[in-house]
Symmetry: C2
C-alpha cells in the first residue's frame, strides 16, 4: 500500500514550513519544538554529509541551545519513537524512513530555485514547444542536471487510447505510411500491400478511417465497423484489414506507456549505491520499466502535487533505500505524463522537490493547450 504525503493547506507547493505541524491530525506523534529542531538538523546534516550525526556535532547548531547530554536524551527518545536509527552503538544517529517522512511532510523549508536556474529551465523548454515527446525528455534531462540525481519521464498508461485523426502518405505504387495523431503525439506505421495503392485509394482510405475509427479504442473496433469501412472503400476493400490491424497494434502498444531515464550515471555519485547488488537491481529496474510504470501510472492521476515515496513505501522491493519523487504534467487539464527523480533515501529533498515542482509547472506552461490557443 502506498502512503502519500499528507498536507494541511492548499499551499501551492504543498510544502509549508513548521506552521500547523502541532495541529496535525491522526496517528502521528507530537514532537516538541526542540525535538523537531533536532530531527531537522539531523536529517539535513545527514543529507549533506552522509555520515551518522552525533550529539556533539549538533551543539554547533545555534538554534539548538543546550548541551550534548540533553541532545542525547532527546535523540534517544526520537529513536524510540521511530524517527531515528543507529547503525551501531557507538555511531551517531541517522534518520529512519519515518524520520524522512516526517521531515518531508512537516519540517522542510520551502526552497526556491535561483533565478538563473529558472531561466535555464524556461529557455530550454521554450525551444521545444509542444512536441510532447521531446519536451518530456528535455525536462528529464534538465531535472537530472539540476538535481544531480537520476531523472525519469513517463507517459502514463492510458486506459482509453484513441486516434484523433488519420492521414495516409503514399510512397510508391504499393507502399504507404499511415499517420495517426494520438493525443499530442504522432505515430506512424508502414503499410505494404501486395497490390497497387492508387492515389485516390489513399485519399478514400484516409477519409474512411477518419469517419469510422476516430475516437475508438482498440476494443471498440468491431466487425460491423470493419465491414462498414470496407463497404466505403469499394473496390479497394482489400486495404482495410491490414490497415486496421496496424491501427490496433499501434494503439495497443502505445497503451503501455513510455519511460525514459536521464543521468543514470548520477547514481554512482552516491555511496548509497556502492553496493553492486543494489546498483544492479536498480539498473535492472530501469530496464524492466513495467514495475515502475505501474507505480507511476496508478498514482499519476491522483494529485497534481509533488509526490514523495520514501524507501519501503515503494511497492517495488528493490527500492528500499531509494526515494522516488515525481509530479504529473498536464495538458488541457488532463495528465499526459510525469517527471520525477529517483535517488537514495538520503536525498536533498528540499532541492529535489522544488526542482520537480518548478519543472513540471514550466512544462505544463510550455505545453499550453495546442488545440485551443489562438
Amino acid at each position: 500500500m502506498l502512503i502519500q504525503t499528507r498536507r494541511s493547506g492548499s499551499d501551492r507547493s504543498g510544502y509549508a514550513g513548521e506552521r500547523g505541524a502541532e495541529a496535525v491530525s491522526g496517528g502521528e506523534k507530537k514532537l516538541n519544538e526542540r525535538k523537531k529542531l533536532i530531527l531537522k538538523a539531523i536529517v539535513e546534516a545527514y543529507i549533506a554529509n552522509g555520515e551518522p550525526v552525533g550529539s556533539k556535532y549538533l551543539t554547533t547548531n545555534k538554534q539548538i541551545a543546550c548541551s550534548s547530554a540533553t541532545i542525547r536524551n532527546e535523540m534517544a527518545e526520537l529513536e524510540e519513537m521511530g524517527y531515528l536509527e543507529q547503525p551501531h552503538t557507538s555511531a551517531g544517529r541517522i534518520p529512519s524512513e519515518a524520520g524522512y517522512r516526517f521531515y518531508v511532510d512537516q519540517l522542510i523549508d520551502r526552497y526556491n530555485l535561483t533565478q538563473s536556474e529558472i531561466d535555464e529551465l524556461k529557455t530550454a523548454l521554450r525551444q521545444k514547444r509542444s512536441e510532447l515527446d521531446a519536451i518530456m525528455q528535455t525536462a528529464a534531462a534538465l531535472a537530472a542536471k539540476l538535481t544531480n540525481y537520476t531523472a525519469l519521464s513517463v507517459k502514463p498508461r492510458q486506459a482509453r487510447i484513441t486516434v484523433n485523426r488519420f492521414e495516409i502518405m503514399r510512397l510508391d505504387e504499393t507502399t504507404a505510411v499511415l499517420i495517426m495523431l494520438i493525443g499530442g503525439t504522432v505515430k506512424t506505421k508502414y503499410i505494404r500491400s501486395g497490390r497497387p495503392i492508387p492515389p485516390d485509394a489513399a485519399m478514400l482510405l484516409a477519409g474512411a478511417l477518419n469517419a469510422k475509427l476516430t475516437g475508438l479504442t482498440a476494443d471498440e473496433i468491431t466487425m460491423p465497423i470493419l465491414m462498414e469501412t470496407e463497404r466505403i472503400m469499394g473496390e479497394y476493400d482489400f486495404l482495410v484489414s491490414p490497415v486496421v490491424k496496424a491501427v490496433c497494434e499501434t494503439i495497443s502498444v502505445f497503451d503501455g506507456g513510455e519511460l525514459r531515464f536521464e543521468g543514470i550515471n548520477k547514481l554512482l555519485s552516491f555511496p548509497d549505491y556502492y553496493d553492486m547488488d543494489r546498483l544492479r537491481e536498480m539498473l535492472a529496474l530501469f530496464e524492466k520499466k513495467e514495475t515502475l510504470l505501474e507505480v507511476l501510472s496508478d498514482e499519476t492521476r491522483k494529485d497534481d502535487q509533488v509526490q514523495v515515496f520514501i524507501g519501503r513505501e515503494n511497492v517495488v522491493k528493490v527500492m528500499d533505500n531509494s526515494t522516488l519523487v515525481f509530479k504529473t504534467v498536464s495538458q488541457n487539464g488532463r495528465p499526459v505524463g510525469a517527471i520525477g527523480i529517483i535517488g537514495p533515501t538520503r536525498m536533498d529533498y528540499r532541492r529535489v522537490i522544488a526542482t520537480i515542482d518548478s519543472l513540471t509547472r514550466s512544462v505544463t506552461d510550455a505545453l499550453g493547450s495546442p488545440r485551443d490557443d489562438g
Copy 2:
C-alpha cells in the same frame, strides 16, 4: 587512430580459424604452433574465469602436450613479444590488448548460434518488419539478451539528409502537423500559426514543399528557393518561413544520429567494472553519445564485416579495458545503422562476434527493400 581487424580471405564472416595464419603479411611476428595453442588457451581460459592463468593449469589442456616448465618458457617469450601480461610476479598471465587482437584476428574458431537462438532472433524481428526504429531497438535488445553484454544500436550521422516527401496534416484552424519522410523514417513537427490555415493552404503548402524542397540538405535551402516557394503560396506566403524553419531544424537535428543502449545493467555482471570510477565514466559515455557516435559513424560505412575495437584502440579514452564490437545494417545496399556490443576487453569474442554477425544479417534481411519489393 583506429586499427581495424585485418583479414586475409573473403570468408563470409571474416573470422577464419588457424588456416593461413602462418602466411600473415607484414609486421606481425610469427608464432609457432605451440605458442598459438598456448595463447589461445590462455585467452579462452581468462575469458571464461577472469583469473590470470598459470602454467600448471595449462597442462590440463590435452592439446598442449608438454610440461609446465616448457609452457613457462613459452609464456615468457609470449610476454616478451607483447601478447601477454603479468599483473604481478607471482600471478599467472593475462592477455594483453595485442594478445586479444591476435586471438580475434587469427586464433578464434568460428562459432555458430544454436538453431533455437537463430529462431528466436528471426521471429522477434519478423514482427517488427521494416519499422527501422523499432527493428533496431529490438535487435539491440536481442543482442543484449543473447550475449549478456550491453548492446547498442545506432543510426549513423548522415552527411546529406534530405526529405523525400512532405505532407501536411491540418489539426484545427491554426495548427497543423508537418510530416516528413526521411530515408526509412518519418519525422513530424508541429506548426502553429497566428493566423488561420485553411485546408487549401495546407494542400498548397504540401505541394510547394514537395516541389521545391525534396532532396535538398539544410545547406542547400537558400533564399531564392524560399522566395520561389513563397511565390507559389500566394496569399499564404506567411506560412513558408516558419515551416521551412521547422524543416531545417529537423534535418539538422536528425543529422546527429541516434544511439540507444540495451542491457546497461549487464555491465555490472563483470568484475571488470567493479571499479566505480570506470563504471561511472562508462555510463557517462553512454549518456553523452556524441563521442561514441563519432566512432560508430565514421567507421560504419567502411566495411560490411564485424568490426572489433579492443581497449586503447578506441579513440575514446574511457574505453581502456573495454571492447566495442559492431557491424553495420544495410537497406537497399546502403548502411542505415549499426548494432553492436560493448563490454570488458575480457569478453567472449567468439560468441559476441557470431551473435552480432547473425543478428545484423537477419536485420538486413528483415528490413528488405521497402520501396522496391512487389
